[in-house]
Subunit: 281 residues, 2 copies
């Protein structure tokens, strides 16, 4: 294994064209010990088959992406809750460190952010007991405000921690994703708070690039290609006591079109240079 | 004048193709009593000529856009300070309610957000005495985090108020622009704080539209075309004691390509419906 890669996790979204077995093989050939999985490709390969494959490969599963989408109304809300219960079962079957929750944007035609945010709290009330029964930790992902309308009304780490507060740290915590939080003037204080509360369940890295690509969903870049200071944020996260895996999750049309082996080569190099030195112990 | 338009101000960027005299004429024909001016078109028409024109038309000048760009380094920083001194003189000549400050993004090649933000504080130290001599209020504009890398490292109202804190409210205040702040979980509390401190110098409205247009600089929409709840934010701003003009400033390629009279027609209708009822006294 290349030095400094002990904590690297490959989120399979970074190599979006690959099947689960291909992702596992990429981890093996690159000496990567952890993987972030997504529900759809896992379902395609089969839940039990995926669980067996990653177990036999000796891979940790740093997260399962994703639950959430709590802001739908009426029957769609009930469907979301049912889908999240299934996601909890899948996370348990995969022994994933946490289930990532992308909470959802404003419901169609609604402009009521406060109500949408309140609905996230209500969804947690419904799901936390089920997650706890399955020993699955729920990880709230605050999202860059660029997505506040259409993907995630949860916009800051502080807000995520407020939502997590009624629950135990092994029930509800937060994800720290550099793309989503790098700009936050309260970043240092809220990362420290998250650490002190024992609620950092996942640390994800990718870069903020400019000009922003036309499709804002695919606006993320490889570490080093943009404006984020991974040394500084990595130091904050390690300083807050986080010792888990560091997941690389990149939505980017150019990377998705490139050869996956080359993408992972680059990822390993950049991680070793920009992230590993600040990963703490 | 259409009922409820007493506080409407047309920021000339909304009709980007128009000269200063054309903008003044649009205000006259639509019964709009206030205008937001930009330095470049003002310079093109002439500073004194513009001041005379708006005075004779009986127009208030709700803001001059814009100073700022404080995050440059070396000689470029000194040039920015010199340019801001000139902007202060222009704001005074135009009797503008405030000078809008867009603080600038990360310097080329830098990833040090903290240093860039500190530099904004240093620029204020240099400029506040000069602005006070000219009785010009400096209005810090927190910008949507979508612009944190390339336009404005000042990302929240709370952060802007912290930067303003060392100065008197008639020296340094803030702009509340719906596009920039609508997503902020601390919006209600920070608008109230800004009002209590007497620091709301400007209230600007435009909408957040999805999908985000390819050029993120031109991502703003006409009120009603997007996701922002103008009733809720307008009520917060009025409740915080703000009684000044409400400026419509929209960067949008489609609007810029349309007939300016029709754009202002639509703006007046939407303002009357969505903003005027919540404007307070």
């Amino acid at each position: 294994m290349t030095a400094g890669l002990a904590k690297l996790s490959l989120n399979q979204k970074t190599v979006n064209s690959c099947s689960v077995p291909e992702v596992v093989e990429l981890c093996r050939t690159h000496g990567i010990g952890s993987v972030g999985l997504w529900r759809e490709p896992v379902a395609e390969h089969g839940l039990e088959a995926t669980a067996a494959l990653v177990r036999e490969a000796g891979l940790r599963v740093s997260s399962l992406c994703r639950g959430g989408w709590f802001t739908a109304t009426g029957p769609a809300f009930d469907e979301a809750i049912a889908s999240n219960r299934a996601a909890i079962e899948e996370a348990a079957a995969l022994s994933a460190d946490c289930l990532c929750l992308v909470v959802g944007g404003l419901p169609d035609g609604s402009r009521d952010l406060v109500a949408a945010r309140d609905q996230v709290a209500r969804a947690l009330e419904l799901l936390v007991p089920y997650a706890s029964e399955h020993q699955v930790k729920l990880a709230l992902e605050p999202m860059n405000p660029i997505y506040a309308a259409d993907r995630g009304v949860l916009s800051t780490l502080g807000q995520a921690l407020d939502l997590a507060a009624p629950y135990a740290p092994d029930q509800v915590g937060v994800m720290v994703d550099t793309f989503h939080v790098w700009w936050d003037p309260q970043l240092a204080e809220q990362v420290a708070r998250a650490g002190a509360e024992g609620r950092i369940l996942s640390y994800q890295v990718c870069d903020w690039i400019t000009p922003l690509p036309a499709d804002s969903l695919l606006a993320r870049g490889m570490m080093g290609d943009g404006h984020i200071d991974f040394a500084s944020i990595g130091t904050l996260v390690a300083g807050a006591g986080y010792t888990g895996d560091i997941e690389v999750e990149i939505f980017n049309a150019d990377l998705w079109a490139a050869d996956p082996t080359e993408v992972v080569d680059t990822m390993v190099t950049r991680f070793a240079e920009l992230c590993a030195p600040y990963a703490g112990q």
